[in-house]
């Protein structure tokens, strides 16, 4: 187990990803101290000014400081990403466990449900749901979370089905462990590796989804900033004032890239074939 941490540290790209992530999280946490201006302070006469000493990343159409908005936007985007990731993980694990462990008609129901979710284009589903419920931080977060559980469920079900056949699970049944105990104590811990990797990739995807929603105006509403909404405002002015769209776009890209790299590193670090025996 400890060797996994050292292997992770050795994976250069993953380490880079982790560092970038830490920087972004720190930026989000310490936004009130780091932001040079109030993100909602408007200066309409100074709209679309490029980067300057006072406004390091320039100003948006309403003259608000882009750097400050990006810092505060990090809070929104990252927290939606994380929380939505947690929700989809929770739902996915429950569904996957039920399907994998009990099989039979339970698995049938769960898998068909998953297929329904997967056939409908996820983004359209999210937009429709948000449109019905009304956009807000909570609704966006919950809806993204609930729409992304299928990957976990399918992977987990496969893992459980194969672990179930292992002799140590039979042995547990033989000494009288209950189904619940076997599932929680023996089966799930052995399915962790692929799940951990999926979580990082899933969070990246949640961030992208939220940004896309906000970009289209269905997500976080003004005056709250989210990277996607800042990007959206810069869309019309891309020729004259590219900085408005570019910087939030970079922020999104960095966050997604960081999560993906971290996920790659985790997958390699957890690969049992690379584990040396006799540690």
């Amino acid at each position: 187990m400890p060797s996994f941490m050292s292997r992770l540290r050795q994976h250069r790209l993953a380490a880079a990803g982790a560092v970038v992530l830490l920087v972004l999280v720190a930026a989000a946490l310490f936004a009130p101290w780091l932001a040079p201006h109030d993100p909602e302070e408007v200066h309409p006469e100074a709209g679309l000014r490029g980067p300057s000493w006072q406004y390091p990343l320039g100003q948006d159409p309403l003259g608000r400081c882009i750097l400050s908005r990006i810092l505060y936007g990090a809070r929104v985007s990252l927290s939606v990403g994380f929380l939505a990731g947690v929700i989809s993980l929770a739902v996915g694990v429950v569904m996957g466990s039920l399907a994998g462990y009990f099989g039979g008609w339970v698995a049938l129901v769960v898998m068909r449900l998953a297929e329904v979710f997967m056939t409908v284009p996820q983004f359209l589903l999210i937009i429709a749901a948000v449109a019905i419920v009304g956009p807000s931080f909570t609704s966006v977060l919950v809806i993204i979370g609930l729409s992304s559980w299928t990957g976990y469920a399918r992977v987990l079900r496969g893992e459980i089905m194969s672990i179930k056949q292992q002799p140590f699970v039979e042995a547990a049944r033989a000494y009288g462990a209950s189904d619940w105990r076997i599932l929680v104590h023996h089966v799930l811990p052995n399915c962790l590796s692929p799940l951990i990797v999926m979580v990082t990739l899933n969070v990246a995807s949640a961030i992208l989804l939220e940004s896309s929603l906000s970009f289209l105006g269905f997500g976080i509403q003004e005056p709250q900033a989210s990277w996607g909404s800042i990007l959206s405002q810069g869309r019309s002015f891309f020729q004259s004032a590219p900085h408005v769209a570019t910087f939030p776009g970079l922020a999104i890209m960095l966050a997604v890239l960081a999560f993906n790299l971290l996920g790659d590193g985790l997958r390699d670090a957890l690969d049992p074939k690379l584990v040396e025996q006799g540690e």
Binding site: Q166, P167, F168, G176, P189, N190, Q277
Partner: protein, 322 residues
């Protein structure tokens, strides 16, 4: 010891049929008779070996006694009382007295738990009232493993050691019977002695009975007192180790013994070559199940199924030939 000659478990006409399903909603059409009316007695402190090739049902018998499969019919008498398989308590009662030791030492322990926790599990599940840590230490000592190994992970041990841990775990609930399913088959030759010696010692000390499944006849000879040979779900020969090995009566047993490779001086053993392979259990041959491969099959063998009959001193054979 007064325990000698007492019966640990009696099995009568035990049967297991695995139903065949066609499609999701149709009735099952016939089934695979994995175990077909098997009867035997296991005495306290003795070892009965179940010998046979693939499809003979020996593993299924063990799994039924471990509570992992439910018999289709037949009776099992444990502690003087018959186990009622229709009750949901049946598996628990069996598991109290009979524990299983599995074949593959590399997969028999949860790779994510320390070996100490694996051995402790049965105690937790059974709400053991004593000091669990202490008991785990006792069990490790009983299988000759150092106390300091308790907190290590399975991948840090060799195959032989893992098998010993598996035995420690099986002993945790103080069963009267250990069902050993090929416990040494996955181990190197130079190491299997450790496990076999341990099993013998434990049997002597604790009067545990073993149902020992193995395809390795030398190992069977070494460890068992009674031997039962199975073919396609039925017992074809059963008796003391000496009578089955040295006064072999059934043609299948003779072929098995002849086919087992031995390190022997001088000339090769007389081969008894069987033709073909074990038929699939779906449509067992008529009459004597072995007749399709038996070098001495005759008309009656094709038509009438032979029953087990005593040929002297408790040695039973199911064969029409004299």
């Amino acid at each position: 010891m007064s325990a000698a000659n007492q019966i640990a478990i009696t099995v009568k006409d035990l049967e297991k049929v695995f139903p065949l399903r066609r499609g999701l909603f149709s009735r099952s059409q016939g089934g695979v008779r994995a175990v077909d009316k098997v009867s035997f007695e296991l005495k306290v402190g003795e070892t009965l070996a179940l010998v046979g090739e693939s499809g003979c049902g020996k593993t299924t018998v063990a799994r039924m006694l471990a509570g992992l499969e439910q018999p289709t019919s037949g009776s099992v008498i444990l502690n003087g009382a018959e186990v009622d398989f229709s009750s949901r308590q049946a598996p628990r009662i069996l598991r109290q007295e009979a524990q299983m030791v599995f074949q593959d030492p590399y997969a028999t322990l949860d790779p994510r738990m320390t070996v100490g926790s694996s051995v402790e599990e049965p105690l937790i599940v059974r709400h053991y009232t004593g000091d669990r840590r202490e008991r785990v230490r006792e069990l490790f000592a009983a299988v000759s493993l150092d106390e300091e190994m308790i907190n290590r992970y399975p991948h840090q041990f060799s195959g032989g050691q893992r098998q010993r841990i598996g035995i420690a775990r099986a002993l945790a609930s103080e069963p009267k019977i250990l069902l050993c399913d090929e416990p040494t088959s996955a181990l190197d030759v130079s190491v299997q002695g450790q496990v076999l010696n341990l099993l013998k010692e434990l049997q002597r000390e604790r009067s545990i009975s073993y149902l020992f499944i193995s395809h390795n006849l030398s190992v069977v000879w070494h460890i068992s007192q009674q031997v039962a040979v199975m073919y396609l779900g039925k017992i074809v020969e059963m008796g003391s180790r000496e009578s089955v090995f040295l006064e072999t009566a059934h043609p299948y047993t003779k072929a098995l013994l002849a086919a087992s490779p031995k390190v022997a001086l001088g000339q090769k053993q007389e081969r008894i070559m069987l033709s073909g392979e074990v038929p699939g259990p779906l449509n067992p041959p008529s009459g004597c199940r072995f007749h399709t491969r038996c070098p001495q099959a005759s008309q009656v063998c094709r038509e009438v199924e032979p029953q087990l009959s005593d040929v002297g001193g408790g040695h039973q054979v199911a064969c029409h030939l004299p």
